[in-house]
């Protein structure tokens, strides 16, 4: 069946008569790919232009509306050797991009102003401010003010807005002392200029803004890159469903365009892309991604089917539903809502530092003011000294300390196959005391593997593998993979049962136990591998039974052992006891619980929290979603159910479990560096405080202190690259 593909959802209309579409193209890595795609597409009739973005691995195609059908573009790219996946730019995406551009604009303005003001300041420090030249000095100060005031007002917006928001909410964040420092430094400088005084701090204020904005831009850039990457993966996995339109025609449709009430067809061997109730047909379904239970469940008319479940044997017609009324979904949603309310109000490290730091600094400034007044200085001079205290202690490095480490560590984790959803996830990850694993799909590889390979003769396996190549069924694909089969034996597939073939004069069958009539041979294998699905190869002489089940991830044992050295490890699973006990024994995990409902998992996490062991939850299923939300911090594999991914703080890629261990060790190191950085900048500032209190600080000292500490903190942050 060739399915008409409906791409209307993805087509934009930037101009009249012009249609455009964004596609994710995973295979581009170099200039040759760019040239091949762009020229290849432009040669297609009707195409106006194509532009590849190598950084985000996307291509934008524009064509004259009506000149060609959108699927033709996908076919063209496929023919060029670059499978492409349509992608609809989310609104969140463009908001992200807009805020990154805004930060870059602020940085440009701040850097421009800082350089020009510094030009004027350096000439003053170099001698232009001798008393004979006071007219020149005043001119330079006025020029500096002219540049600095509008530029600082513009470039400081991100900080002023964030500080105002924090103050309105009755809390203090790092932006409050930063904003205060900048505003006071500028106000004092204007005052000094008007009074024909020697010292103005325009350059300090602008340098502060420039350094901090550089940190923000890096942070935002990193965040956008990881989000782009996650969006690409979503587009590649893209869920389409076969929508049955009037007259029984099946049309391949993106799930975003499928609405409750539609009828979709789920063929044997496919994953259901939507939730619904079975309207027609009967089949066995692997629900492991939903419930953690590995044994297939039989479904027939009226039964509930979940998105993410794998249809094993027969075709099902499913009526899409969204409304509640289903025990598991309702429970998950209710638990999720509650978990979101209770989501621990974690205070970020930088904000916690600001809460301690800001009052101390402000008190010190006030004390300085009062002391100078008491010692007989005029209130003007006292105020000036007090404000220089604020300027010199302004947490320039403090503001860089945490984001710099976050950016470097997130980049290092990204290279190791872990995507962080939020910056603070790193801080919470470092605090984890107990690591709680889900079993199915997390410790085990979501792709099934042959379990009894040792009992099967290689030639039997090779024969079964060649025959399996002609089937679409997931279990057959496992056999083909296990046999490393490359030469197919062409066979006839009976959906939901198996394949038959005539090979070298012999009738061969590969399929279910019933299809091959091999109940007698299957019984001992079923007893030996109670959690496996069976598939049989029937030759005229005998029947060979293969047991297929989810095996451990290839590096699960080493990874769990490595984590076990520094953390406690537990397994909480929804699966049955024998399956869980077996995995726990293989991994050497002493504490495991089985047959758990979502609610039970949350109870266990609560108990851990109460015992003071902040849990890291690693899970993938729909049934894990509430636990992922309730845990102190959570990680999901990229193969996880959508709802679970949305709750997780981080996602790991690939079939290896190692990124989880890497994340724990890198997060611990990153936190050490963050705390170290905070102390470093604190000490640096505190060294300058005595100078400020005694009124010895000149603008030159302030400039040196600020840039010196920022550079030191940044260099220290670079150490987060290696675990």
């Amino acid at each position: 069946m060739t399915d008409a593909l409906d791409l209307a959802l993805y087509v934009r209309r930037p101009l009249d008569g012009v249609a455009a579409m964004d596609l994710v193209v995973d295979g581009v890595h170099c200039g040759a790919c760019i040239a091949a795609i762009e020229t290849g597409l432009r040669k297609q009739a009707g195409v106006r232009g194509a532009r590849v973005n190598l950084a985000s691995k996307r291509v934008t195609v524009e064509w004259n509306e009506g000149a060609l059908e959108p699927p033709a573009i996908l076919e063209r790219l496929e023919a060029l050797g670059y499978p492409a996946y349509p992608f609809s730019a989310e609104t969140a995406d463009s908001v992200d991009k807009a805020s990154e551009q805004q930060l870059l604009r602020c940085l440009g303005v701040a850097a421009f102003a800082a350089m020009n003001v510094m030009l004027l300041s350096v000439s003053l420090w170099a001698g232009a401010d001798s008393d004979s030249n006071s007219a020149t000095r005043d001119l330079f100060h006025w020029l500096s003010a002219l540049i600095a005031l509008p530029c600082a007002a513009y470039a400081g917006m991100p900080f002023f807005i964030s500080a105002a928001r924090a103050l309105r909410g009755g809390s203090l964040n790092m932006d409050v002392p930063i904003s205060l420092g900048v505003v006071l430094a500028l106000a004092l400088s204007v005052f000094q200029t008007v009074a024909h005084q020697r010292d103005a701090y325009f350059d300090s204020a602008l340098m502060l803004l420039t350094f901090l904005l550089a940190g923000r831009v890096l942070d935002q850039h990193m965040r956008r890159r990881t989000r782009d990457f996650a969006a690409n993966l979503a587009a590649i996995r893209a869920d389409r469903a076969l929508k049955l339109v009037d007259g029984g025609e099946a049309r391949e449709t993106p799930i975003a365009a499928i609405h409750p009430g539609d009828l979709v067809l789920v063929r044997a061997g496919e994953r259901a892309a939507v939730d619904g109730t079975v309207e027609d047909g009967r089949s066995e379904v692997d629900q492991s991604l939903v419930t953690g239970e590995t044994l297939p469940v039989a479904l027939s008319e009226g039964a509930r089917i979940y998105a993410g479940t794998l249809n094993l044997t027969g075709a099902l017609q499913v009526r899409v539903t969204k409304e509640a009324g289903d025990a598991l979904l309702d429970e998950v949603n209710a638990l999720l809502a509650r978990a979101a309310e209770q989501r621990s109000s974690y205070v970020r490290l930088a904000d916690r530092a600001a809460r301690l730091y800001a009052p101390v600094v402000h008190l010190a400034a006030a004390a300085t003011f009062l002391s100078w007044l008491w010692l007989g200085a005029g209130w003007q001079q006292s105020l000036i000294v007090a404000i220089t205290v604020l300027i010199i202690t302004c947490p320039c490095a403090l503001g860089l300390a945490v984001p710099a480490v976050q950016v470097v560590a997130a980049g290092a984790l990204f290279r190791r196959g872990l995507i962080l959803n939020s910056g603070e996830a790193l801080e919470r990850l470092a605090q984890a005391g107990t690591v709680v694993f889900d079993k199915t799909g997390t410790l085990t590889d979501p792709r099934p593997a042959l379990a009894n390979g040792a009992d099967i003769a290689p030639e039997d396996l090779a024969l079964a593998g060649s025959l399996a190549l002609s089937s679409r069924h997931p279990l057959a694909r496992t056999i083909a993979r296990a046999a490393r089969a490359t030469e197919p034996i062409s066979g006839h597939e009976l959906p939901g049962q198996g394949v038959t073939a005539l090979h070298e004069g012999r009738r061969l069958k590969l399929g279910s136990v019933a299809f091959c009539k091999a109940e007698a041979e299957a019984a001992p294998v079923a007893a030996a591998f109670p959690d496996a699905s069976l598939i049989v190869l029937r030759t005229p002489e005998r029947a060979i039974v293969f047991a297929v089940r989810q095996g451990l991830r290839p590096d699960a044992r080493e990874t769990v052992a490595a984590i076990g050295r520094s953390h406690e490890v537990e397994i909480l699973s929804g699966d049955r006891e024998p399956a869980v006990a077996l995995i726990a024994r293989q991994l050497g995990v002493a504490h495991f619980e089985y047959g758990l409902k979502p609610k039970d998992k949350i109870e266990r996490l609560k108990a851990l929290k109460a015992a003071g062991k902040r849990p890291l939850m690693v899970g993938d299923g729909l049934n894990d979603a509430p636990a992922l939300a309730a845990a102190h911090v959570s990680i999901s594999p990229i193969s996880a159910a959508h709802i679970a991914q949305a709750q997780a703080d981080a996602l790991f890629l690939g079939e290896r479990l190692a990124p989880v261990a890497d994340a724990l060790s890198l997060a611990a190191k990153a936190r050490r560096l963050m705390v170290g950085n905070l102390w470093l900048s604190l000490v640096y500032n505190l060294l300058a405080v005595p100078l400020a209190v005694t009124g010895q600080v000149t603008p030159l000292v302030a400039a040196l202190a600020m840039s010196g500490s920022s550079i030191l903190v940044t260099l220290n942050a670079l150490r987060a690259r290696h675990a």
Binding site: K43, L54, A55, L104, G108, M115, N116, L119
Partner: protein, 52 residues
């Protein structure tokens, strides 16, 4: 010191030019694809036989 009368505006103008160029580049999406730009510089898509 009379030299300042035109040196200071000149310095500002040059700086402003740089800023304007940066803002123009930003608006034009020059920073959207930092990896691709490196490759495009060495591609031969401006030769007549490669023009799409």
């Amino acid at each position: 010191m009379n030299v300042l009368v035109y040196l200071v505006p000149l310095a500002l103008a040059l700086g402003g030019l740089g800023l304007a160029a940066f803002l123009w580049a930003l608006r034009n999406g020059q920073f959207d694809d930092l990896d691709g730009a490196a490759w495009r510089a060495i591609s031969d898509d401006d030769l007549p036989e490669n023009r799409g």
